[in-house]
């Protein structure tokens, strides 16, 4: 009832024993073993518990199609990998492997009660049972179900490994290095093509590795390919997805098979662009559907041959074969020749090729034709098998200790289907094979349906005299789907295989139906009484086998996940204890706390300093666009709401930018340096969007305009110097510019030098105080900043961050696009109609300002809010209602967009978008917040210095 190591044979190295552990118990295998073959050689048949019923499960296959033997491997903290197939884990000394989905142990699993209750778990059970009450799903049902049903545990700590990635280009990519793939490589080797040959296994050969007669050919071929300079061979590499234009994703496993953890990448992601692709992925043997076909010890006959000839392991002392296809007979003959006693051959067909009968006779193997297995005895392994003579329905017992299934072959068309190649049905194979390609690709060997395994009968499931309701004949081992589930789905009205798949979960998840799709189709076809091609085929989706997130993420994690943009002054802020925040990928100083200061205290101090003396602010992140050309003014006139043509060189203007639908998308102060040159500024987050929008209009609507747009955001460091003492600090440092108010008024620009550095000096203010924005080439930003700090010390110059900047601008009612607007706010809504050139015949968004919805009454408009309790700071985003006593759900008429404590005013201030807000001035509105509903009066949006007296000094 269990496997054992054969005395001879296999490609394992018997001189190199390997010690490993499985579920805490130590075992010995040999170099060249997989975890599957080594455990099988040690008599282990039980590899895991099934997904839903917790049934004991053993190996079905020897390759990556294995649905049952899913294993977790632990290589230390953070190096825990679940859901690996035992058939793909190369053993090494110290390998620490665990079975999954069982508690407390693999042999005794409490969850197996699900199996006894199996009649209560039909297809769609969860959908049907846990519908009600809806509120129970998230907190009660789903967590409980997830605990019981499932695969391995997700790792809980950060992965310490590194992962590499690379791009590769080749003329010919061959996926699969079995005989067909190797032949394809040999055939093109002497051309000047760059060839990449990839295979998921540790050595090339595929099916040839289980056929000793082919080993000399294999050795010669590998030598020739290895010596060819134009051939790159990638082993332990899985091509997991086939994307547009012959772009293939593959993951190469570099270190998991090594005993020691090495200081190099664990895996490498290959992104391969190929001129031509040859798919040589082979075919997967199909299980046969009968009661008890999931008992450990029931496996594919081709797998038994691989274990015997590649690994020198017998799957049992007396295996029997259940066949509907000739290939199983050849496999069983190969086992017999390896010295394994064969119990019996059972074939559902009434007759087979006489050559097969003669060979069975010569090897002394009992043959039962027109028979089928109707029951398997043994729970953790096969003890005997019941077979039924279909001629007279008599059941007899045969004493097999392993049962091999040979149900025919399914071409591996997974990658072909990823590439959107079409498939055609072959009745003789009972399978889909590649038809018309959608890329420059073709299939060779088994995956094209081209093989010499003989012929077979195509069946849905073995006939049985047993009561259908009392049997469990599995179709999808990994997802625990039985034949009964599929027929039930059909009875309940599902007709399309896409719906049947989702209802039953057949062919889903990590397995992608490798062993189950065709049997599921055949059973659905019988139940619907329609030919297979008429019920459709589900889509195969990447990845072919599960891949690690580490490999897919590669270097894009931690600090490299998303670049952080920093200004030239950032290092100064860092050194002076700034607290930072991220704004559109920029790292910006939020505030500069002094010892024992919290944010509130720091922001209050920074705000007061600006209003009373002098503040300094790093505004380098502002978007900047240089607009140059004879038509520059005309272009800006068409883009912005306000008039630009009359703006004199040396003067600035606040520009408001709408989308064509009439809503505000950006704003900023821009300067005219010369008749044909403007220096635009945009919001920090809007820089790329605005440049893209301007390029769009320039290139496609007005290509006749002679204008150039250049992003200069990163060319300038910008230092905002704000406060009544700003001019006094600048005077000694600036050359070539008359700073007097008469010569250099508010909203003007001058060019000169500061500390000897060329500067574009703006006299602008986002604080309401006398202010300058000093633009210098980026590399000089910190140097000029430090000079200003030194010169400003006499006025107690205070660096301030974005938080104080927000408060200061809100005191003045200056909006922030994206905070006080949300993409549905017009200039009129925002109270910015003064910035719209009424006489201009056209600009982007102008026509939309007359759209019916935009001139309709009741639009949300920007207003100021002053809470009745001056100490209360409203929550930004809080909803606003007119009547707090109305029944719930209340009618919400707007929301708070900006809200701060103003130290200067000694009270809170807020802005809000409120329906019909401009007509509500003086009204009291209500703002329900947790614990209490607050009241506030509607005001204008300018809370401080409404006349602007402080600006014009």
């Amino acid at each position: 009832m269990s496997g054992f190591r054969l005395k001879t044979g296999g490609r394992i190295d018997r001189s190199q024993p390997v010690m490993f552990s499985f579920d805490g118990k130590s075992y010995q295998g040999f170099a060249g073993d997989t975890l599957a073959s080594a455990l099988l050689a040690n008599g282990v048949m039980l590899f895991g518990r099934s997904f839903k019923y917790h049934r004991p499960r053993g190996l079905v296959a020897a390759g990556s199609e294995e649905p049952n033997a899913l294993i977790s491997v632990n290589r230390g903290p953070g190096r825990f990998t679940p859901n690996l197939r035992a058939t793909g884990i190369e053993i090494h000394n110290g390998l620490n492997a665990f079975s999954q989905n069982r508690w407390p142990s693999l042999a005794m699993d409490f969850g197996a009660i699900n199996d006894r209750l199996g009649m209560f778990f039909p297809a769609g059970f969860y959908n049907k049972t846990f519908m009600w009450p809806r509120s129970f799903w998230d907190k009660v049902y789903e967590p409980a179900i997830r605990k019981m049903a499932g695969l391995g545990d997700a790792p809980t700590t950060e992965d310490p490994d590194v992962y590499a990635s690379t791009y590769a280009h080749c003329d010919l990519l061959i996926i699969g290095a079995g005989p067909a793939g190797i032949d394809a490589a040999l055939g093109s080797m002497d051309s000047n093509k760059r060839i990449i040959l990839i295979d998921e296994q540790d050595e090339l050969g595929g099916g040839a590795l289980a056929d000793p007669a082919l080993w000399p050919w294999l050795e010669r071929s590998i030598k020739a390919l290895t010596n060819a300079p134009n051939v790159t061979i990638l082993t332990r590499t899985t091509a997991f997805g086939y994307y547009h234009d012959n772009f293939i994703g593959a993951v190469q496993r570099l270190t998991d098979h090594l005993p020691e953890i090495e200081d190099r990448p664990r895996e490498k992601l290959w992104r391969i662009r190929a001129g031509e692709v040859v798919l040589a992925q082979g075919a997967i043997e199909r299980p046969i559907v009968f009661d008890g076909n999931d008992t450990p010890g029931v496996m594919l006959s081709s797998a038994a041959k691989v274990y015997a000839h590649r690994y020198g392991v017998a799957v049992g002392k007396a295996p029997a074969l259940m066949a509907s296809h000739d290939s199983g007979w050849h496999d069983i003959f190969a086992l017999a020749k390896a010295g394994i006693r064969i119990c019996a051959i059972i074939d559902v067909r009434e007759s087979v090729d006489s050559a097969l009968m003669h060979e069975a006779d010569r090897l002394g193997i009992t043959v039962y034709l027109n028979h089928g297995v109707v029951g398997v005895h043994g729970r953790h392994g096969v003890s005997s098998v019941d077979i039924c003579d279909y001629a007279d329905q008599r059941v007899r017992r045969v004493d097999a200790d392993a049962l091999l299934m040979a149900g025919g072959w399914t071409p591996s068309v997974h990658l072909w289907s990823h590439s959107k190649g079409s498939l055609k049905w072959r009745d003789d194979l009972g399978a889909y094979v590649p038809d018309q390609p959608n890329e420059n690709v073709h299939c060779v060997g088994g995956c094209s349906g081209d093989w010499d395994y003989g012929t077979g009968a195509v069946i849905d499931m073995l006939p049985t005299p047993k009561d259908q309701s009392r049997i469990k004949a599995f179709v999808d081992f990994q997802n625990d789907v039985t034949a009964k589930d599929i027929t039930l789905a059909v009875r309940e009205g599902f007709r399309s295989i896409e719906h049947i798949k989702r209802y039953t979960t057949n062919g889903m998840a990590t397995d992608q139906g490798k062993t189950s799709n065709l049997n599921g189709l055949q059973i659905a076809s019988s139940a619907l009484n329609k030919p297979v091609p008429d019920i459709g085929l589900t889509s195969f989706r990447p990845p072919y086998t599960p891949q690690t997130f580490g490999a897919l993420a590669g270097h894009a994690k931690g600090a490299l996940f998303q670049p952080t943009r920093t200004t030239n002054i950032d290092s100064w802020a860092q050194a002076h204890g700034a607290v930072f925040e991220l704004v559109a990928q920029w790292r910006r100083a939020r505030y500069f706390p002094k010892p024992n200061e919290d944010m509130h205290a720091a922001v209050n101090r920074e705000c007061v300093a600006v209003r009373s003396s002098l503040g300094i602010f790093d505004a380098s992140t502002l978007g900047k666009i240089e607009v140059v050309g004879p038509d520059a003014a005309e272009f800006l006139n068409r883009m912005y709401t306000n008039p630009w043509k009359a703006l004199e060189p040396g003067r600035c203007r606040y520009g408001l930018l709408l989308r064509e639908d009439g809503f505000i998308t950006d704003d900023g102060v821009s300067a005219r340096l010369a008749p044909d040159r403007f220096h635009l500024t945009t919001t920090t987050g809007g820089a790329a969007r605005v440049l893209n929008m301007m390029e769009d209009y320039l290139q496609t609507e007005w290509p006749d305009l002679d204008v150039w747009l250049t992003s200069t955001t990163e060319q300038y460091a910008v230092i905002a110097l704000q406060g009544p003492n700003a001019r006094k600090v600048l005077e000694p440092l600036v050359q070539g510019i008359d700073l007097s108010p008469e010569a250099f008024p508010h909203m003007a620009i001058r060019e000169g030098t500061i500390c000897g550095i060329n500067t574009r000096l703006f006299r602008v203010s986002f604080t309401g105080e006398l202010g300058f924005e000093i633009n210098v080439p980026t590399a000089y930003g910190r140097a000029v900043w430090e000079q200003l700090m030194a010169q400003g010390a006499q006025y107690d110059i205070t660096p301030y961050g974005t938080e104080a900047m927000h408060v200061l601008r809100a005191e003045k009612g200056f909006i922030i696009v994206g905070q006080d607007t949300d993409g549905t706010v017009t200039p009129f809504d925002a109270g910015l109609d003064w910035a719209v050139g009424k006489k201009k015949p056209d600009f982007v968004g102008k026509r939309s300002m007359a759209r019916p919805d935009i001139i309709a009454p009741g639009r949300k408009q920007l207003v100021g809010l002053l809470t009745d309790d001056p100490n209360l700071v409203l929550e930004e985003g809080a909803q606003i209602v007119a009547d707090p006593n109305q029944p719930i759900p209340m009618t919400m008429i707007g929301h708070v967009t900006s809200s701060y404590w103003s130290e200067t005013l000694g009270r809170s201030i807020a802005m809000a978008l409120v329906a019909g807000g401009h007509d509500r001035t003086g009204d009291t509105l209500h703002i329900p917040m947790p614990g209490k509903t607050h009241t506030a009066k509607v005001t204008g949006t300018v809370f401080y210095d409404p006349e602007g007296a402080r600006l014009h000094v």
Binding site: D245, E660, N692, T700, P703
Partner: protein, 90 residues
């Protein structure tokens, strides 16, 4: 990952260099103020959603920066052709 032919660079480049820019051949009216509400609505909001050949704009945003037009099959996701902005519809 699709390869897209930029008609300005005259090279096929990976799609991550490009940004889609919506349906092609929708000219901004020369006199927006003269448009009826219905006409302006159609210009602003009404777009085709064909099954098959679709004319759309792309920008080689991480390359030459130019906007161009393309015919893409929305079923197969294959580009039939690309051509420079201003050239006649294909």
């Amino acid at each position: 990952m699709i390869l897209i032919h930029c008609p300005y660079c005259d090279e096929k480049r990976p799609e991550i260099e490009f940004a889609n820019a919506g349906q092609a051949h929708i000219a901004r009216p020369l006199d927006p103020s003269g448009q009826s509400d219905a006409d302006w609505e159609a210009y602003l909001f009404i777009r085709a959603n064909p099954r098959g050949r679709h004319h759309e704009r792309w920008r080689h945003i991480h390359g030459c920066g130019r906007f161009f037009n393309a015919v893409r099959d929305t079923v197969t996701d294959k580009f039939e052709t690309t051509y420079k902005a201003g050239e006649p519809r294909r």
